[in-house]
């Protein structure tokens, strides 16, 4: 009997380690993002390109022009759908979602994304604030909250799956030298904000009489990584089942508000794209929400708004701040808080021994793909002159990857709206609301001071 009792957990553990490479969304984002990057590099080195496949709608002034543009490239759009369906479908199958549900739902996401992308290419889009992330989010919210789609279609509305794949592809468009140059500042700035925000939320929550595990879950949601931070810490500290949903409701509420508010405020303050991206990276809670805000701000510049900096600088600064500065520390937060929960806090019915392995187990693995993709492209382009980069690398290698990344992000932004059913969210209550909101306020103010004043010169050079 004792042999059996000893053997089972070890078997489970081995099985878990083996399966994680194919049973976790993060790893699938790595395989898909790196796979596409390697295909693009392989084609480029053999004198070809992914350009034909990575189609995007052209700029237009009148609706007939837009229709003609899409009609002229209809085969490319079909081929691109087939590529995404094949790759994302393979991952979806391995993750346990049924293909007969995932594929029709993804076809819907793709078709609507084509329309949203095309609308964003309208030359008057900026005038009416029709940036694709905002349109995708609002349209998705409208659809999901009017219950016009069957519930099984949720199988294809995978926000995190799409955003992580997009972030790995984003890595392929960022020089590794930039990550090395800006990474330490991002880590320093993000650490200051994260510690301060967690501290204020935890302090206010416990002073209001909330349970310490709920306070930590709220703090992680506001300070580290939104919903992901909240569920990681809730599990690590052994929170009550109802704690994480409270944090999820508050994260969604504030994240959606910030998607609309931060780009508008940054624009009214005339912030450069680098500074605005860093501010959004410090002040938004969720990767997907922050990317929507940062891409919206970059879109203002792309449409000719008088803002300094390149459109991509907003995305780059956001990603460095959020992914490198905040997301990678989630395992350490969970580990440290699990020690506090088991040694200092009141006990619950269950208990555990904290172990440092938690730091890697909870590590957001898509960051590995982001860094590797950046290293691959940096290595391939290391000996290329600036002129060659502009004439060859940008249109034939980096450009197509950037287009694929943009598609992945639009799938994500639309899926945010399609999965946010306001009536189904848990009721948060006023005490958690005030505790969380105190952190939001600090996040935004401190994030602005650090991004625009303390490190402003640094971020504006991005």
């Amino acid at each position: 009997m004792s042999t059996h009792v000893h053997a089972l957990p070890r078997d489970l553990q081995r099985s878990s380690n083996r399966n994680e490479l194919f049973s976790k969304e993060d790893w699938w984002a790595v395989w898909l993002g790196l796979g596409l990057t390697l295909i693009a590099v392989g084609l480029f080195l053999n004198g070809s390109s992914l350009r034909w496949l990575a189609v995007v709608p052209g700029k237009w002034s009148a609706v007939p022009d837009a229709i003609a543009d899409i009609r002229a490239s209809w085969m490319r759009y079909v081929a691109l759908f087939a590529l995404w369906a094949l790759l994302l479908g393979a991952g979806a199958r391995a993750l346990g979602w049924r293909l007969r549900q995932f594929l029709p739902a993804f076809a819907f996401v793709y078709a609507v994304s084509v329309l949203i992308f095309a609308l964003g290419q309208w030359k008057q889009a900026d005038h009416y604030n029709l940036e694709p992330p905002l349109v995708a989010l609002l349209l998705g919210l409208l659809i999901s909250n009017t219950n016009v789609l069957p519930r099984w279609m949720d199988a294809g509305f995978r926000v995190e799956y799409y955003v992580k794949t997009g972030i790995v592809l984003l890595g392929a468009t960022l020089p590794f030298t930039l990550i090395v140059w800006a990474g330490p500042v991002a880590i320093l700035q993000a650490s200051i904000v994260s510690v301060a925000t967690f501290g204020i939320i935890y302090f206010v929550a416990t002073r209001l009489g909330l349970d310490r595990r709920l306070a930590a879950t709220l703090g992680a949601g506001g300070a580290i990584c939104g919903v992901s931070g909240a569920i990681a810490v809730a599990g690590a500290v052994g929170a009550r089942k109802q704690d994480a949903p409270i944090a999820i409701t508050l994260v969604i509420f504030w994240a959606v508000v910030m998607i609309f508010v931060l780009p508008l405020v940054a624009r009214s303050l005339g912030l450069s794209t680098g500074i605005a991206g860093a501010w959004i990276g410090t002040s938004e809670f969720a990767d997907a929400a922050g990317l929507a805000a940062a891409q919206t701000y970059g879109g203002y510049v792309a449409h000719g708004a008088p803002i300094s900096g390149s459109p991509d600088a907003a995305l780059s600064a956001f990603t460095l701040m959020k992914v490198i500065g905040r997301d990678v520390w989630i395992g350490i937060w969970a580990f440290v808080l699990s020690i506090l929960a088991t040694t200092r806090w009141e006990r619950t019915s269950a208990d555990r021994r904290p172990d440092a392995g938690e730091i890697w187990r909870r590590f957001p693995k898509f960051v590995v793909g982001f860094l590797l993709a950046s290293l691959i492209i940096t290595w391939v382009t290391a000996s290329v002159s600036y002129a060659q980069f502009k004439s060859s690398i940008t249109p034939d290698l980096v450009g197509p990857i950037k287009n694929l990344r943009t598609w992945a992000f639009i799938f994500c932004f639309l899926s945010i709206g399609l999965t946010t059913r306001l009536r189904e969210l848990a009721t948060a209550g006023w005490k958690p609301f005030w505790a969380f909101s105190s952190g939001v306020l600090l996040n935004v103010v401190l994030g602005f001071i650090l991004s625009a004043l303390v490190f402003g010169a640094y971020w504006s050079r991005l």
């Binding site: 000893h6 969304e25 049924r98």
Partner: protein, 88 residues
């Protein structure tokens, strides 16, 4: 609530939530239990590790937690809570 600490001998004896019949960590259950999770997160994310829900104590626990109420789950091939199956 004052509970019972996970003792080393409990841990060595495999009395962890991962092997308990009260522990459910399937992605489908996780997303059903936490409304809104899929909007900005995912039950299939690495950050969740193998956390799940204790249906006995109504706690959100790591798979390595444990307690004296541990009851061994059926063999792995029958235990959908330990090896998640595709959602119905």
């Amino acid at each position: 609530m004052r509970g019972v600490r996970l003792k080393r001998q409990d841990e060595e004896a495999g009395r962890r939530c991962a092997t308990c019949r009260h522990f459910d960590n399937s992605t489908a259950t996780f997303e059903r239990t936490f409304p809104g999770l899929a909007s900005f997160g995912s039950a299939a994310a690495s950050v969740r590790d193998r956390d799940g829900i204790c249906t006995l104590h109504q706690l959100h626990l790591a798979a390595r937690s444990g307690c004296e109420s541990h009851e061994r789950a059926p063999a792995p091939e029958q235990a959908s809570s330990i090896f998640p199956l595709p959602p119905p």
